[in-house]
């Protein structure tokens, strides 16, 4: 499954409405439009668990879109 779809699945799992998730584009800003800070935190935790990575504080402030997250998780993967 492409990473973007995996990320969308994680978003649904943490409680973001499926209708909203389906409409999110890879370059769309997630804060405010799609996720509040509670969802955003849960999303980071879910990504860390799913991919076995650690997102540092500084990077957490620069991951704004699904593409940003995808590039952070695995720069070479689509």
């Amino acid at each position: 499954m492409p990473v973007i779809n995996e990320l969308k699945e994680l978003m649904i799992n943490i409680g973001v409405e499926e209708r909203i998730v389906n409409e999110v584009g890879p370059e769309q800003i997630l804060a405010g439009h799609v996720m509040d800070s509670v969802h955003y935190t849960a999303f980071i935790v879910a990504i860390e668990g799913r991919y076995g990575i650690r997102i540092t504080d500084r990077y957490a402030l620069r991951l704004r879109t699904l593409n940003d997250f995808r590039n952070y998780i695995n720069p070479g993967r689509k």
Binding site: G15, I29, L30, G32, V38, T41, D57, R58, A60, L61
Partner: protein, 504 residues
């Protein structure tokens, strides 16, 4: 013996501006505005209405209003009569509202018609006054002379009361004297922030919080400035719209909102009109300070205060803010960092923060034991926070109790644990703080009933179970299954060990 009289803080905040600039805008809320003259008239009208209801000095009036033009009118109107304004969030649950009504003994509740408070929580003995968002009450008089209303308080009269989350989950009332509305203006507003009449103030923290009350009520009126009110949820887009529309010169917010604005920014820089950005509610992590400065060129002045102390007692100052530090002691306050036995710790070592100053609460409402345990005979108040002091700057290091600050709101682990235990698969559980990115959130450790298999799907089910029962900020972002919880020899859960587990 006659008690010494003091200034009525409402009168001081209102009348100072009338002679100077009666037509100046005091408050802006969406497309509506309130001049200083109209604010004064509105307060008199509301005070008169309360007097017609038979209000007596020191009687509590529960104000469950959002941040709209009605709030300062109702709050100050109540203070003018000598009543005690009890400001609570209009989004309280039925249970919380019923508890607070019972605790403060209010006979009068003020609310908007829409959205209304949950009236089924209101005892029939409580009269509900419905006002519109500009403080107008149907059938109330239009003009009242101030002389017939104004009550001069005694030195120990309570002016207002706010409710803070207790460690048991039961809200605790924190009363304040009239001086607690005025002194933060001198000690912080003037001395540190240099607020002037041409400032435009915008606080995302609401009136029902100590931080928001001083930011949006005391500061603008004390200095004859203008405040912008936002009744809705402070999501980053709404906040940025307000900033671009009204151009505030001082922005008060919390780390969560600063982070959300940073994350919603698409450009390499963000041009903002503010001269000052201030943060409180929870410690501001250094990465947020640095990223905000990189994007906007502005520093964020972090500070720490508490409901018990009415406002900040430690704060950074403009031009000298230090990333990751809550700042320096505000002149007028004294601080001690002590060990668990009350002995002062040396500089550079962590200690429990005790604070003493002129704005401290006289007691917790109806809680003599908690008051005696928190407000010490020497005048110092236990904050429950652990700090380290280096070169005069204070650095937050955590809590000495089990409370969690999540999104600038207190979360009692016991409430979250109760919600978790209501799931049939949970045998026992414990909740501790988990830090993710720059956010602090609740995390949960769960022991399942024998025969139940742990799985990611079950963790998800537990999360959904809690999300149906608690507000988002209380929901654990991480659930970890355990065979047993770490306990002391007396059976008490060792939460510090759980916090350590989340840190690894």
């Amino acid at each position: 013996m006659l008690k010494t009289s003091v200034s009525n803080s409402a009168l001081e905040l209102l009348t100072g501006n009338l002679g100077l600039h009666p037509d100046k805008i005091a408050y802006i809320c969406a497309d509506k505005a309130l001049s200083y003259s109209d604010l004064n008239k509105g307060c008199r009208r509301f005070a008169h209405l309360l007097q017609k209801q038979g209000i007596v000095p020191q009687e509590r009036v529960l104000i469950a209003l959002p941040d709209c033009l009605a709030f300062p009118i109702v709050f100050l109107g109540c203070l003018l009569t000598g009543g005690v304004a009890v400001a609570v969030s209009p989004t309280l649950s039925e249970e919380e509202l019923a508890l607070i009504i019972d605790d403060c003994g209010a006979r009068i509740l003020v609310s908007l018609g829409k959205p209304a408070v949950p009236y089924y929580a209101v005892d029939e003995k409580v009269k509900v006054i419905i006002c519109d968002d500009q403080g107008q009450v149907e059938g109330s008089c239009t003009s009242v002379e101030l002389d017939t209303l104004y009550q001069q308080p005694s030195v120990d009269d309570i002016a207002y009361m706010l409710y803070s989350s207790g460690s048991t989950g039961r809200p605790k009332g924190v009363p304040h004297l009239h001086k607690s509305l005025l002194l933060p203006c001198d000690l912080v507003g003037k001395a540190l922030l240099d607020i002037k009449s041409d400032d435009v103030i915008f606080s995302t923290s609401k009136f029902s919080f100590a931080y928001g009350l001083i930011n949006s009520l005391a500061f603008p009126l004390r200095f004859g400035a203008t405040a912008i009110l936002h009744p809705g949820k402070p999501d980053p887009l709404a906040v940025l719209n307000i900033i671009h529309l009204h151009g505030p010169s001082i922005f008060f917010s919390v780390p969560d909102i600063f982070t959300q604005i940073i994350l919603s920014c698409t450009d390499r820089e963000l041009i903002l009109p503010m001269r000052l950005c201030c943060s409180a509610g929870e410690a501001l992590p250094a990465p947020i300070f640095e990223e905000w400065q990189r994007l906007t060129g502005l520093e964020i002045l972090d500070g720490i205060g508490s409901t018990e102390m009415a406002y900040h007692f430690i704060s950074n100052v403009p031009g000298r803010a230090v990333a990751g530090s809550a700042g320096q002691l505000v002149p007028g306050y004294r601080a001690r960092l002590v060990d668990d036995y009350g002995n002062d710790v040396p500089a550079g070592r962590e200690g429990n923060l005790l604070i003493c100053g002129p704005t401290k609460t006289p007691c917790y409402w109806n809680l003599p034991e908690l008051s005696a345990g928190t407000i010490l005979p020497d005048g110092f108040v236990k904050t429950g926070d652990i700090f380290l002091e280096r070169d005069g700057f204070y650095y937050y290091r955590g809590r000495c109790d089990d409370m969690i600050k999540s999104g600038a709101c207190w979360v009692s682990p016991f409430i979250v644990e109760d919600a978790l235990r209501s799931h049939p698969a949970v045998a026992e559980c414990a909740v501790a703080v988990v830090t993710v990115g720059t956010f602090n959130r609740p995390g949960a450790f769960v022991v399942l009933i024998p025969g139940t298999k742990q799985s990611p799907a079950l963790a998800q089910e537990l999360m959904s179970h809690i999300m149906e029962r608690l507000p988002d900020y209380m929901c654990p972002v991480r659930i970890r299954f355990m065979a047993e919880l770490p306990r002391t020899s007396t059976g008490k859960i060792q939460r510090f060990k759980l916090r350590e587990q989340f840190a690894h």
